[in-house]
Every structure is written in C-alpha cells, then in structure tokens.
Amino acid sequence: MDNNEKLKQVFCQALGIEADQVTDSLTYNTIEEWDSTAHMILVAELEDTFDVMLDTDDIIDMSTVGKAKEILAKYEVQF
C-alpha cells in the first residue's frame, strides 16, 4: 500500500467516511463527520500510521486532505 492509499485509509477510518469522499479538497468542519473530535482522532491515526509527531501549528493548519499531504511531506513522508 503506498502513502496515498494509507492516507486515504486513515481519513476513512478516523472520520468514518467512504473512500470516494476523500479528495484533496475535503475540508475540516464542512462535513459533520470531520469535527474537532474526529480531528483529534485523525491526528492520532496519522501520527501512528506515518510514525511522526506533528507540531501544534501543523495540526491547526491541517484544514484539508491536500494540506495534510503538504504537512506530512515536511516530515519526509512522500506522496
């Protein structure tokens, strides 16, 4: 499984949504499944899956799926 597939799987599991909903433009707080509680679970799952520990500023900035990829790239996770 490549990192794009892993990322998609994390979003599906953390938010409880279907894979076809996970697009780069999917945005925090625009669907009821991606609320503040789900965001915490999402961060926890991303850190676990990609073996990183994110800065608080990065967590605040992680407002879309595309942005999540950009942020993870800073931690040497390639997409």
Partner: protein
C-alpha cells in the same frame, strides 16, 4: 466462574508520572507499579532518581527532563510514542501531572517571577503534557489523566494566592478537558490533597501544624500514600464512570 482478581488492572499499559522523586511522586510510582503498569518516571535530577530505581520493583523507564522546557517535553513524548510499542511497556494509558512547586508569600511581597514560576510548573507544563498525551491515548480510544491539584486552590489560603491561582487554573483545565476528551474515551480528573507530610510542608512549626490538624475532621495530617491511593483509583477501571471530578484527599479539611 473464573475470577479475575489476580489480573493486575494496568497490566500491559504504561503511565507517565511527572515529579517522580518527590514523596508524593514516589508513592504514585509505587502505586502504579503495584497495579501492573510500566511507569515513565520523570524527574529533573538524575542523581535523585537513580537510587529510587533500585527500590521500585517493576518496569520503570526514567525520563530526565524539565517539565517546563516545551521543546524537550515534545521530544520526550516522541520517545514515549516509540517506546509504547514495546510489549513490556504498552500503550500510554495514564498521565499523572504531579510535578509542582509551592511558594508562600503575602501579595505585597510576592515576586512576579515566583508567580510565573508557579504558573509555568503547576499549570502550563501539565497543560502541554495533557495536549501531547491525549493524542497518544486517542489511538487507544482510552486513557486516564490525573492532575494533582490542591485544597489551597479549591478553598484559598491566606499568603498562598499565587500557588492557589496556579492550581485553580489547572482545575479549570481538568474539568474542561474532561468534557472535551470524553468522546475519545479519555477521562480527566483531579486529586486535591490537603495538608500532606512532605518536604513542601516540613517548614511548618509545631504550632502551625497543630493549628492545621485541629481543622481536619480526621485529626491527622495526610501521607503521600493517601494521595497515591486516590490517584490509583482514578487511573484504574474502578473509576470507569468518573470524569471531571476533583477528589479531595484532605481528611475533611475545614477552612
């Protein structure tokens, strides 16, 4: 029917205890070990922690760092994140924010630097620890955070306004985070000791000590073990339906 009475309640799980070399910290570490947990024992002074490691039986991982150093705290949690994967340690289940300082002074002679130091150690550091710990716990959808507060923060005490404020701030975070973290299975509680016999209270002379004891319904001062028992209760499943609670450990202190 099989009995589970021999199963250690925190077996296969880990707990981080800050301020592990103080008397209350030592008692909390021992209590967690008796519940079967692996303990990340934090202290600033390696020389103080080293001899204690020999007295504890169980899995203790020393973490030498200053709780107020934000960058270092994050690095330590990164280490915990990696180490909790080991089978003899297990996922982080508990955080006990125990490290603290107390300075007594009337407001007219209170130094702002001492106020800031107490806020840093007693409130800001525990807050950062909760911020990082809850992310590790969220993966398990389970965890228990216990903050060591104080009856001084609950009731107030003349000459202790700065200390009381720092503990009251932590109480506010405790009850708020109990609500915020409940959806991800993390409980957040506080223990509010009264007069406990430790180095912090050693400077009390006999007259002051007698005066305090007279105001305690149980007519005795507390011991570090009294606090540790309350912490153990809140870490374990014995308190599975308790969150946002401040448990006094004060022998019923009457101000």
């Amino acid at each position: 029917m099989k009995s589970n009475s021999n199963v250690s309640p925190l077996s296969g799980k880990s707990v981080l205890v800050t301020g592990a070399t103080g008397e209350i910290g030592q008692a909390i570490v021992a209590s967690c070990l008796s519940l079967g947990a692996a303990v990340f024992a934090n202290a600033r002074d390696e020389d103080k922690l080293a001899p204690l490691l020999e007295t504890w039986s169980g899995k203790v991982i020393p973490l030498i760092y200053d709780v107020t150093d934000e960058r270092v705290v994050k690095e330590q949690f990164r280490q915990i994140q990696k180490m909790q994967m080991q089978s003899d340690i297990g996922p982080l289940h508990g955080l006990v924010n125990n490290a603290g300082v107390m300075f007594e002074a009337p407001i007219t002679v209170s130094l702002m630097d001492k106020l800031k130091e107490q806020l840093n150690i007693n409130f800001l550091a525990p807050y950062q620890h909760m911020q990082l710990a809850c992310r590790l716990m969220a993966r398990q959808r389970k965890g228990s955070i216990v903050n060591i507060l104080s009856q001084v923060g609950e009731l107030g005490s003349s000459g202790m306004s700065a200390y009381a404020s720092s503990k009251a701030a932590l109480k506010g975070a405790t009850v708020s985070l109990a609500k915020e973290l409940a959806p991800v299975g993390i409980r957040v509680n506080g223990v509010a000791p009264g007069f406990i016999e430790t180095a912090m209270t050693k400077h009390y002379d006999q007259e002051k000590r007698d005066n305090v004891t007279q105001r305690i319904v149980m007519k005795r001062t507390g011991k570090p073990g009294d606090v540790a028992k309350a912490v153990a209760f809140l870490l374990s499943e014995q308190s599975s339906y308790t969150t946002g609670h401040i448990l006094p450990v004060d022998g019923a202190f009457t101000p």
